[in-house]
């Protein structure tokens, strides 16, 4: 029997925050699951949630005309998914597909952005953690972009 998945406050993205901080960030939270093959995000759809992945694996995909979908990066339990809710027009920029069955927390974007949609204010702890995730992702993209295996020939 599989061991139960850890609760929200133990997700790596939130781990170490005080109960008050977790409550402020996750004021609108749902547990969601997706079967293998399902799309968690579809390019162009409204970006409504920040997903905290709890199990399974997700592939970020971009469909190239005439070539079909290209996988850009894999995300897995412990990662976060979906940042397009941060800025207008709040639309997903990529597809995200469950490669394996996925369990996640979906944090409502409206709540994350704060009470005033015109002047969103992120909880500082949330902002720092998002920055760190973005920076790490930027580092990975830089390395991918260097195409090191081809360059080493």
């Amino acid at each position: 029997m599989a061991s139960p998945l850890p609760p929200l406050e133990e997700h790596p993205f939130l781990r170490g925050l005080s109960p008050e901080q977790v409550k402020a960030i996750a004021c609108d939270v749902r547990e969601v699951s997706f079967p293998a093959g399902a799309l968690l995000l579809r390019e162009g759809d409204e970006a409504h949630s920040l997903f905290l992945l709890r199990s399974g694996r997700v592939s970020l995909e971009l469909t190239v005309p005439g070539q079909g979908p290209r996988q850009l990066e894999s995300l897995k339990a412990g990662d976060i998914l979906g940042l397009s809710w941060l800025f207008p027009p709040y639309r997903w920029h990529l597809d995200a597909r469950a490669v394996e069955p996925v369990e996640a927390f979906a944090l409502g974007a409206a709540c994350l952005r704060g009470p005033s949609p015109e002047h969103p204010v992120l909880e500082p702890a949330l902002a720092m953690r998002l920055l760190r995730q973005l920076y790490e992702r930027l580092e990975r993209v830089r390395m991918q972009r260097l195409d090191v295996y081809e360059a080493a020939r």
Partner: protein
Amino acid sequence: MMPEPLRVRSLRRETADTFTVSLDVSDRPGGFPFQPGQFNMLYAFGVGEVAISISGDPARPGELLHTIRTVGSVTEALRRVGRGGRMGVRGPYGRPWPLEQARGLDVVVVAGGLGLAPLRSAILHLLRHREAYGRVSVLVGARTPEGLLYRRELDRWRADPRLKVLVTVDQAGPEWKGHVGVVPALLRDVEMEPSRTVALMCGPEVMMRFTVRELERQGVPDSRIHLSLERNMKCAVGFCGHCQLVPLFVCKDGPVLSYDRLRPFINLREV
């Protein structure tokens, strides 16, 4: 320094531009003993010589294997030698992977692209002496799924409960069900005690720099991070200076060097 002509026993295609050649050493008493991580100079007669890591099993010196990527005139000439032909061999040369010092510790093997070739012999050694080591993880990266070396063997290793094998590619279409992303990203899924971990790494230098940074972040000491470097080697014995990295001769002091020795020089733009 004289190359020994050895007959090509077999030649196996690994990827579109990479092949593994098995050389006949049956005439040599004791075969061709070597230590994991060492290399030979392979000579395509009349064309030139090139340094190629030995990728075979160190416990089976009767089989001498090299995995070669065709990137220039010498490697292309080596590929054309074909079964039954001869190529010159001198070696083995260089400092091997520190597998004795790694005994009792967790081991993380990180291979990028053709870098899996010099690590294959280390992995086979670790498997053969598995009880002597802690947790052993093997991380493998390639540009595409088609660029992965030793696909069948990778599948066998993945099914082996004594190893944790993680594979990733930089680019993939929808048919690939494995991980997509850079090798350092796999380190997060490795179970290890950082202060008691030895990392063995070979691949493009940029990949190794990113991976070293991630290992350092996790607390693996520089002295336990070992990189196999590729440089333009000519003599292979520390005379000519072609492979010199400031005070280090990669052919003689390396090709395997610990990061605490390499740190002052590896990022120098002038070398």
